[in-house]
């Protein structure tokens, strides 16, 4: 249409109409629709390559994109589109939520956010197993959030386990506090933007350990070190903190807290409009488990949930379209 439109400056309301947790294909597509429907929209996401699509090297079957695109590029395009309609994106990790409150609350390492509705689109790259010592030392040197806990490690040595942009970003955050940062990458290469990688490689506090796995996190009451297998060789690094950003294939629901129904396998349960058992709380994408992992299907789910959110917020959820009568 030949109607000029200038995207409005994203406003930062105290309470957003909708907070979307996860900015992959489903969360990002939901944001396109909610922002375009004039709902104030906040998307909280861990980073471009932190999700399943962002990690994918080439996508050839996303309709409309005949030339294969990198997963991270498709995610970036979807986010730019949502931003163009006024959605706000922040690079943070949600640690805790209270979805029974009104308005609903979510907390990241950087603070709290409020939303009248919430869409859970966190995907299914949660870790399947923990390292020996990890659970016992959680909060005693083991952490999943450098932004939250970095300051406790001033002038101390820390290890960061992971290979995606979230891990690299968090390692760089830790360089502001720690005296040494050991990055333990289980695979040979990183999956992170080159700009971040340059910064990481060039930092004099950082030591990169490629192809290095953690065998055990050690310490009595507090982390004192980490046993690693560095390209086949076993050794111990003396560190005071271990930050873990590894991935698996479990739905990411650990932050949800009380109230949201999940199945025995930990998958979020929704009705036909993608609403959970809690009013105004929706879930889409891989966190529902039952789905084949296809970007276009995840995007479609995000859009359906976005339309349901708009109806929910305007008291129109009982709507049953009846176009042809």
């Amino acid at each position: 249409m030949n109607v000029d439109f200038v995207a409005q400056e994203p406003s930062k309301p105290d309470v957003y109409d909708v907070v979307i947790i996860g900015g992959g294909p489903s969360g990002g597509s939901a944001a396109i629709y909610t922002a375009r429907a004039d709902l104030s929209t906040l998307v909280i996401d861990k980073g471009l390559t932190a999700g399943a699509l962002g990690m994918a090297s080439k996508i050839a079957n996303f309709p409309g994109l005949p030339d294969p695109v990198e997963g991270a590029e498709l995610v970036r395009r979807i986010r730019d589109q949502a931003r163009s309609f006024g959605a706000t994106f922040i690079d943070e990790k949600v640690l805790r939520a209270d979805l029974q409150a009104a308005p609903k609350r979510v907390w990241t390492g950087a603070g709290g956010h409020k939303g009248r509705a919430v869409i859970i689109a966190t995907g299914a790259m949660g870790r399947t197993r923990r390292f020996p010592g990890e659970d016992r030392l959680l909060g005693r040197g083991v952490s999943y959030c450098a932004t939250c806990d970095g300051a406790f490690f001033r002038d101390q040595a820390v290890a960061v386990a992971g290979s995606n942009d979230e891990a690299v970003d968090e390692a760089l955050t830790l360089t502001r506090f720690a005296s040494e940062v050991h990055v333990l990458n289980p695979v040979p290469d990183f999956n992170a933007p080159e700009k971040l990688m340059e910064e990481l490689r060039g930092h004099d506090k950082v030591t990169i350990h490629p192809s290095t796995r953690i065998a055990e996190i050690v310490g009595e009451n507090q982390v004192t070190g980490v046993d690693i297998i560095d390209q086949g060789e076993e050794k111990t690094l003396e560190v005071d903190g271990v930050f873990v950003y590894l991935q698996g294939n479990l739905p990411i629901t650990d932050f949800l807290g009380e109230g949201v129904s999940t199945s025995e396998e930990g998958c979020v349960v929704v009705d036909e409009n993608f609403q959970t058992n809690l009013q105004g709380v929706f879930a889409v994408g891989d966190v529902l488990c039952k789905h084949v992992k296809q970007a276009v299907i995840a995007a479609a789910e995000g859009v359906e949930a976005a339309i349901a959110v708009d109806r929910y917020l305007h008291g129109r959820e009982e709507f049953r379209p009846d176009w042809s009568r």
Partner: protein, 324 residues
């Protein structure tokens, strides 16, 4: 029977076609073509009867800005061509031909077009739906550029403008309420003197200061030179005609799913939509359905594409489980 994939010549070339395929897709919009991208890529021999105007509803839309992956928006015709090119590149045949008759009573299923007859072990129906038109002067001229049947798609373009909504059912009033988020004023023109929409919609519409009503009236003509500037309205009770200035016209007098062809063979609901489960199965094993012909709710390009992908994967699974 012995199954041999065979390339049927396109109808346009005037050959006698008699192709047999693993899968025939009926419909060449976002749902059908996305299904073809998936099945072509899975090396399933796929023929798409795409209708006379391949591309489906988006092909008539000037600008699609809400299909994920296109931050700068995309011309509807171009998007349709992209879908089609992608399906062809993965090996699907996409032919502009119209299906005249189907027989789903036994496998292989039979799909008859005016010239060619195809047989297929599985079928995906993706024929779409069309908004019921007013059938008045100016409607065709401005369709997709001032006349719309989708506020979710186009409402955004009417920030601080004036729009007219034609209709009085749930859809008309729901979309009128949606449009008040953008438009300065929404005028609902309805041919009766009361709304048929459910109570909650009526109450909300009457309470909304941005919504005005013109009762007992029909739109007779959509006016404008380059863009829509107004409508000519006739009062059906007293026959008086008047002009109303407006920047856009949204028509909600019903959608018509394109399902006549399947009546008696597939289960349809009261409104003519093909009944399916969430995995896009119809009541006939081996026949799947995707897109607007089964969706009275969302009607978005990406939701149609999503169901196309699901139908394709289910068809692939079916072909693996029930070899011929």
């Amino acid at each position: 029977m012995e199954f041999e994939p065979k390339i049927a010549p396109p109808e346009a070339e005037g050959h006698e076609g008699n192709g047999t395929y693993e899968l025939v897709i009926i419909g060449g919009g976002p749902a059908g073509l996305t299904a073809a991208i998936y099945t072509g890529r899975a090396r399933i021999s796929t023929h798409v009867c795409a209708g006379t105007l391949p591309g489906g509803q988006p092909a008539n839309t000037a600008d699609v800005d809400n299909f994920p992956g296109f931050p700068d928006g995309v011309d509807g015709t171009e998007l349709a061509q992209r879908f089609q090119g992608q399906a062809k590149r993965f090996g699907a045949e996409v032919v502009p031909e119209t299906v005249t008759e189907v027989d789903f009573s036994e496998r292989p299923f039979t799909i008859r077009c005016s010239r060619n007859t195809y047989r297929a072990q599985a079928v995906i129906v993706a024929t779409g739906a069309s908004p019921r038109r007013l059938g008045i002067p100016g409607e065709d001229k401005f369709y997709g550029r001032g006349v719309s049947s989708c506020a979710t798609c186009d409402g955004f373009f009417y920030r601080d403008k004036q729009v007219v909504v034609v209709g009085g059912g749930d859809a008309a009033i729901d979309e009128s309420l949606f449009l008040t988020k953008f438009a300065e004023k929404v005028t609902v023109i309805h041919r009766r003197d009361e709304l048929r929409a459910t109570k909650i919609f009526r109450e909300r519409a009457f309470a909304n200061p941005k919504i005005d009503f013109v009762w007992d009236s029909v739109v007779e003509e959509i006016l404008g030179d380059q863009t829509v500037t107004g409508v000519r309205v006739r009062n059906v009770k007293n026959g008086e005609t008047s002009m109303l200035e407006t920047d856009g016209v949204f028509v909600y007098i019903g959608m018509v799913p394109k399902s006549e062809l399947f009546s008696g063979q597939l289960e349809l609901d009261d409104n003519g939509y093909i009944v399916s489960n969430r995995r896009q199965h119809t009541n006939v094993p081996g026949v799947f359905v995707a897109g607007d012909v089964q969706d009275p709710h969302y009607r978005q390009v990406v939701t149609a594409a999503g169901t196309g992908a699901i139908a394709a994967m289910e068809a692939e699974r079916y072909l693996g489980e029930y070899p011929y």
